[in-house]
Symmetry: C3
Subunit: 410 residues, 3 copies
């Protein structure tokens, strides 16, 4: 197998990109302290790169040894260049789809996302939707190992992340209840646990009961950390899947009218959604909440500062008739403590039922972060505008996209 001509200028540019590939690589590099590999993948083509420590410039590296790792590869020979990085030669199938770095090292909180990143993630999520529907057996993340470190149980979120990893060909180390992790019980710090677990995996999905835990884990870890909820803190993948669902269901995010209903005081999801949707143009938000759980002032102030029109209403039907999206939430009983009277009063006040459907525009949808109790009646489920199970499914696509982006880049 003879070498072909030297790399074209276009390829050289890719190699340059590669040489400055940045963070995803450098996390793995610090971690493995030696050879690195990465691949970038679009739906139809895959290109692979392998980087080793500086070796003499006339030695050749057989790509075959690692293409068996990432599935079918398109490189035949890799010619080492000065220091790190490789020319790629003899690659007639090659298309210059060199993966470029994902801007984020870790996914910790909604504040990390601007509209550019959001739109990019949504495009990848849409690709993932096609991958999952057409060929469930993708090998994109073959050879990668994800550790799900759950300090409080959340089967829905855990299964969604694990499904995302496996749908892309990756593998999972799972912990349903890391709080009973014998080491944590013995007094080990989260940081020490992370430094151990990062030795066994390539990416960590962390669910913790303490606000800020994900940030601490990320600053310790030499591999990417994904926050799957940290107590009263953030749950960024839920926020992303909510915005993505609006985009997929309504077709746009600018100019959207959104009714947030239910427990707006305690609902982490509605607060994050309000925060993210405010980044888009001409958004209108209606708050429909029982008095005891009204939206707090910090979000209202923020919305005003972002130029978002908002108003409070006690008329769900009127709001429903004007909205593109009704986002219903569960009244969180666990936040009421002994005040069951307040809970019961708040609980039945705003129910999404057939009467709401009757006034809801045809193009509009009803969303809910799930689980629901009876704040949406079961007879709503069969209406095409009931989007909440599609919304749950979108969580899979968003998580597939984030895993791909954090491990492989764009």
């Amino acid at each position: 197998m003879a070498l072909s001509n030297p790399p074209s200028p276009a390829m050289q540019k890719d190699m340059h990109v590669w040489n400055h590939f940045g963070r995803v690589i450098s996390k793995r590099e610090r971690h493995h302290q030696s050879n690195l590999c990465c691949h970038s993948s679009s739906t139809t083509k895959e290109s692979h790169f392998l980087r080793t420590p500086p070796i003499s410039s006339n030695s050749l590296y057989e790509a075959s040894s690692f293409t068996s790792f990432h599935g079918v590869g398109c490189f035949r020979k890799l010619l080492p260049r000065r220091g790190f990085g490789y020319y790629c030669l003899d690659t007639k199938d090659f298309s210059a789809s060199c993966g470029s770095k994902f801007q984020l090292d870790d996914v910790i909180e909604s504040q990390q996302f601007d509209t550019d990143i959001l739109n990019g993630i949504f495009e990848v999520a849409y690709e993932m939707e096609k991958i999952e529907k057409n060929s469930p057996g993708s090998n994109m993340l073959k050879g990668y190992l994800m550790a799900t470190l759950f300090y409080e149980p959340s089967t829905r979120t855990r299964l969604s992340f694990e499904s995302a990893m496996k749908r892309l060909g990756g593998e999972v180390l799972t912990t349903e209840n890391a709080r009973e992790f014998s080491s944590a019980a013995k007094g080990e710090t989260l940081e020490d646990t992370i430094r151990t677990v990062e030795g066994y995996s390539d990416i960590i999905v962390l669910r913790h009961f303490e606000s800020g835990a994900a940030r601490r884990a990320a600053s310790t870890a030499n591999i990417p950390v994904l926050n799957a909820g940290d107590g009263p803190g953030q749950h960024p993948t839920q926020a992303l899947l909510d915005v993505y669902t609006i985009k997929r269901e309504i077709g746009r995010l600018d100019g959207i009218s959104l009714g947030l209903v239910g427990d707006l005081a305690n609902g982490r999801t509605v607060r994050s959604l309000a925060y993210l949707i405010a980044k888009y143009q001409k958004v209108k938000i209606y708050f429909v909440a029982p008095d005891v759980v009204r939206m707090k002032d910090d979000i209202k102030t923020y919305l005003t500062s972002m130029g978002v029109e908002w108003e409070e209403s006690s008329d769900l039907l009127e709001v429903a008739s004007r909205c593109d999206v009704i986002y219903q939430t569960r009244i969180q009983r666990e936040r009421f403590g002994e005040r069951m009277d307040l809970y019961e009063g708040a609980r039945g006040k705003y129910i999404v039922d057939r009467k709401v459907l009757d006034v809801l525009p045809k193009h509009a949808v009803i969303m809910h972060p799930l689980p629901r109790l009876d704040e949406i009646t079961v007879d709503v489920d069969s209406d095409p505008r009931a989007a909440y199970f599609r919304q749950a499914k979108n969580g899979l696509y968003i998580r597939m996209a984030l895993l791909k982006l954090l491990l492989l880049g764009w």
Copy 2:
């Protein structure tokens, strides 16, 4: 790669079968709402089919994109036909082993099985036995994801299902204790949970503490549901593996003599076994039970109606000398409540020990659904007629067969 001649009549017939493929497809279709794929596999040959929504009749679909999903495929080109379905062209390796639909959408209860289906399943289970012994790395279910949703722990059953899936190349999302599923704890219905989990997987194995739960799950799910035991209700895979074990050990089911021993009142397994074995010809059943846990009248009446001879006996040795199969069961302490005196009285009454082996015919076997306490003495284990661990292993083959049939058809 040129197209070959149009499909032969035999192929067209297959395509016809395919066009009416039915339920397995339609579940996935409703689920994915777009493209569908399926494959059928015998031990040595595999054929693959891909169905997409109606497209124009002269467009071609490259099979390669999905054969990478299901492993080595034998189709080269697929030519779309009217509406759904495809001609298959240019397939010199093709053998018309078109998978036909499995009669069942879900596996919920023993009543679903007639002798035709039973015998068919047993043939597939026997194939699975060969696959597991000769090539543990089958890729038959590669790309498929099974969710094990266990609302009560049952490690034996769970490991058996998960091993079955992995021995066929499939992947597993596991939940050891879904009852603490935060959503269930928050009051989510089983139906809502199923509609979420079906978005993350291709088949659900459900163990639940409520009778009828599996049926409710199946009527909600757009993907197949396998009942792995629903409280005091059914545990159909146990019943199937019991009958399969008799067939494998004795060589036939018609004309079998069967001694059911122990807790016949509470034992779900003996009741199901009696129910299924009655479908075969010239079966004779002996009941050997302490008075407090005698077989109930409903099964006796049913057996008589099916033409099965049965009698009750208190002489285990005499029964053992006449039987092809002694099926021993554990006295279920948990059903006696406060009456420990009754439990202790029942417990030691009928023990399978060396004395039973002495009178048991050479060709006969001893079975037990496990776990056992001391109702079979440990010195029996080394006798070749002790079949209970082989019986447990048969559970693997039966579950491999059911997963294959529900996901791929015959």
Copy 3:
């Protein structure tokens, strides 16, 4: 594809080895009762062998059917020989790297290892280090299924074993809390559980709360058993990774000076480490422990009998200045019962901090079995001589090596 010449004498010798392959095979043989396969692998080449029951001498066996199981194979044809075993023909890529039997059937206790086996394991572990760093997607154990049967939770050990299996391409059946295994709760013996689980897997990793449980499991199982800690008994993989870490960090084991610090009375790890390191030449050991948890006499007597110099000291700084390795351990609060005053007194006595680093030789390292509390201060972590997280990572390589050796041989 024509057959090449008959096997060379060197190959015949390999075949002879193969015919007497012994235990690993015979466990699988007894288990599967029919065909057997095995492969041996060095870093760059892999050779595969398949054994079937005696068949006629002129039948040929196509290796392709099993190379698809074990990945890329180098045999083209296998020619059956008298009885069991095969000539290998037409194998131009063949190198006589025929796997020979691993001396151990199971890994149960430190006493199984002499220096020859230890050095062999360490060589394989070093290969595993390269495999994990360069190509995380090894297929060496593809098709193998490991059951992790944990009767007490130990997430660190469990994740480490599961990562090891998955890094080599194997699959895992996992049980986080087998003590609630419904069968164990119902009174099933460990032996019965093992005989069931061995039907679903190829190797069992057992963590149990009773000393001696692993040995009982191993004597029952027809597949290899790995002890992942049995109560107050043994935890041999921890002992191996400790010795391996010294070898990797310092470069040798003979002539090593070792300071064992902390809870020497209760620490299973320091006792095992002392036991194993004593097998090497010219070892010097310092014991630095609070009075209530001093090293016990049995180990001291053993060390003397092995010609190991040892002394007790209460001056951590002086010991640190003379040692190649300071092995710090946690004072085990759970062993003090009500005597919290004794615990508190022992706990703060010997802390590894910057002052220890100041006197520690440049080439020396600090080790710790983890988890740690405050017996090593956090500011030590950034010193290159802090080896404890590398030590935890070495656990992965040791476990990869043992899985490979038990399943595939050398």
